[in-house]
């Protein structure tokens, strides 16, 4: 009969001896190196830290990827496009619109033109309005003859020309959200904030505090809300459940933005407010991922913010994330995918939206014209 005994060795410097002792089996003895700080973090150069994520599902080039949420989600879409993943632009600009104009009018930043969706409550509002589970808000902000959408006050530079234009544009956005939910393989949502502002009468949550991007602040009507774990989880669960009901094959990837708050209205220092906010969001993201096999959490937040990375991915203002940080995050994303699922097979690209030909591409004018001209002019 074979007996297995695990031995632990320790060097006793005082006596210059190697001590060997048997160790009893316990849950930690069978864990991999990644479970131990000394091996997985402490002994490594920060850029060697890896394996931070064990993805639940493979993100393939056959899945249409939708991105929404806080600013950091934009980095995801850019990195995915750069690697040939079919990022879904459900509210596209015409191809002849220049990159600068697209950015100015907020096209191609997220999969639809909601602008940043900072909170779970805002996500729930957008999803429920898009899926006709709640009515569009009547509230519209007017300023200097221009019209602003309280759900996305910064979406149209200078505001809309009329209420009708605002509503037509919002309808296009809602339609884009619907099609994005229905067509998405993976919905990437980046949680950004717990702090928000709402209308105390209607309960409508705003994208930003009235009087900042647009609108007029009214202390009697506008109320500050710092969402707590239970409320955020309820909103997130409701939004995700509504999306899943619309698209049963949907998978969701949650992230938390590592970008600190610009300002806090909580009455506490912005640094402690940031820690509170991000901790709450991180907890909700983790709990939500734990509860569903179709929801996963990718730790881009930790990759940027963990002390092991020494703040090296922040710009000098200690807020903006530098491009090297984004690259490192995405490198981890793809490496962790590959570690679990293997390399993506080549030649399995999804049927992407055909890229329109550049303006100078050959056209009928070019190729069917020689005889025409000779016929007309050569006499």
């Amino acid at each position: 009969m074979a007996i297995s005994v695990r031995l632990q060795t320790r060097y006793d410097a005082a006596n210059n001896k190697v001590m060997v002792r048997p160790v009893a089996e316990n849950p930690y003895t069978s864990l991999g190196a990644e479970a131990f700080w000394r091996n997985a973090v402490g002994a490594l150069n920060p850029l060697q830290i890896s394996g931070l994520w064990a993805p639940k599902f493979q993100v393939t080039k056959q899945m249409k990827l939708v991105t929404a949420g806080s600013c950091f989600a934009q980095h995801f879409s850019r990195a995915l496009i750069a690697r040939g993943y079919p990022w879904l632009d459900a509210e596209p600009a015409p191809s002849f619109m220049s990159p600068d104009t697209r950015t100015k009018f907020n096209y191609g930043i997220f999969s639809f033109r909601t602008g940043n969706i900072y909170t779970a409550k805002m996500l729930r509002q957008w999803v429920e309005i898009a899926l006709d589970m709640r009515d569009e808000p009547d509230e519209i902000w007017q300023e200097g003859g221009r019209f602003f959408d309280p759900l996305r006050p910064a979406i149209e530079p200078g505001g809309f020309a009329s209420e009708d234009e605002l509503r037509t544009s919002r309808a296009a956005c809602l339609s884009a959200i619907r099609s994005a939910i229905r067509d998405a393989g993976v919905f990437v949502f980046t949680l950004g904030l717990t702090e928000s502002w709402a209308n105390s009468e209607t309960g409508l949550e705003y994208a930003s505090c009235p009087g900042t991007a647009a609108g007029t602040y009214d202390a009697n009507k506008h109320v500050f809300v710092n969402h707590r774990v239970d409320a955020i989880q309820a909103d997130l669960n409701a939004a995700l459940a509504a999306m899943k009901a619309e698209n049963p094959a949907l998978k969701v990837l949650l992230t938390v933005s590592p970008v600190p708050l610009t300002a806090s209205a909580s009455g506490t220092h912005v640094l402690t407010a940031t820690t509170y906010s991000k901790s709450v969001l991180r907890a909700v993201a983790g709990m939500t991922a734990e509860d569903s096999d179709w929801v996963d959490y990718f730790p881009s937040y930790e990759i940027i913010t963990a002390p092991a990375f020494r703040g090296m991915f922040y710009a000098p203002n200690q807020r903006n994330v530098v491009s090297q940080g984004v690259d490192f995050v995405m490198k981890n994303f793809f490496a962790d995918q590959e570690a679990v699922f293997g390399k993506l097979k080549k030649g399995k690209k999804a049927a992407e939206k055909p890229v329109p030909p550049p303006a100078a591409a050959q056209s009928g004018d070019d190729v069917i014209c020689e005889e025409e001209m000779l016929n007309a002019f050569a006499k």
Binding site: P92, S95, K104, E156, A359, S363, D365, E370, E371, A376
Partner: protein, 246 residues
């Protein structure tokens, strides 16, 4: 007092274009165009040679590779083209393609008026010939522009043209887009003349009756008949007449 040659030039019309200008020439030769006493000249080149026409020191000049094709069109007209060589200019077809414009808009999401204006401006300015037209107008020349017409109904297109058929826009959206083209061109003092509704089907194709001869055999959805060209040029000449009267 203008010199005799300047007076003659002031009453002349230059029709500038790519292969689409052929239909205008045929219409002219067939007597379908009443130029109202104006001297009419042609300038341009077809196919890839059209891209060999460039802006250089205030004039349009041809690359060496485009020279032969230009010579075919201009006949005894000027070797290079400036804003003062003719009394007025009509840029015809010339790669400002309505089908590309509308197809891209139909593939895109709703654009606010401000976004449509910005996008339309970029579309126009991305077309070299529009920049030529704008430069001529800036130099004081009366300028008209007839963009390339929409594909012809009922002609089976070759593969590269097939994707350009099928505009999914509401009529009011098409009119909004056309109005924006006219408005922005007017700001540049260029009069944009877009094919009239009676030449179009409900699917925003050019009616079959305006197909170029032999369109089916050549699978040519792009070019149009001399009758179509005559119709478009007549609009321009009427506008020129009215402008002069005013």
């Amino acid at each position: 007092m203008p010199s005799q040659s300047e007076a003659a030039a002031s009453d002349s019309l230059c029709i500038y274009g790519d292969s689409h200008v052929a239909s205008v020439k045929l219409a002219w030769d067939q007597g379908l165009i009443d130029a109202q006493g104006r001297k009419v000249g042609f300038w341009g080149a077809a196919g890839p040679s059209f891209r060999g026409l460039r802006w250089k020191q205030g004039r349009i000049v041809a690359d060496a590779g485009a020279q032969a094709d230009l010579d075919l069109v201009r006949g005894d007209g000027p070797e290079t083209l400036g804003a003062k060589d003719f009394g007025a200019y009509l840029f015809y077809g010339a790669r400002l393609r309505l089908s590309e414009f509308l197809l891209e808009l139909s593939a895109a999401s709703y654009l606010s008026q401000a976004a449509l204006e910005a996008a339309t401006w970029e579309f126009m300015m991305s077309t070299r010939t529009y920049r030529f037209a704008r430069n001529f107008a800036k130099a004081g020349a009366p300028v008209w522009f007839v963009p390339t017409s929409l594909p012809t109904q009922g002609v089976f297109p070759p593969k590269e043209e097939a994707a350009k058929v099928g505009i999914d826009l509401a009529p009011q959206e098409v009119e909004r887009a056309f109005a924006m083209l006219r408005k922005l061109a007017a700001k540049d003092r260029v009069t944009m003349v877009i094919q009239p509704p009676e030449t179009l089907t409900d699917e925003f194709l050019t009616r079959r009756e305006f197909a170029v001869e032999n369109a089916d055999a050549a699978r040519d959805v792009v070019h149009k008949s001399p009758e179509f060209a005559a119709l478009m040029v007549a609009q321009v000449l009427d506008q020129m007449k009215n402008a002069k009267a005013a």
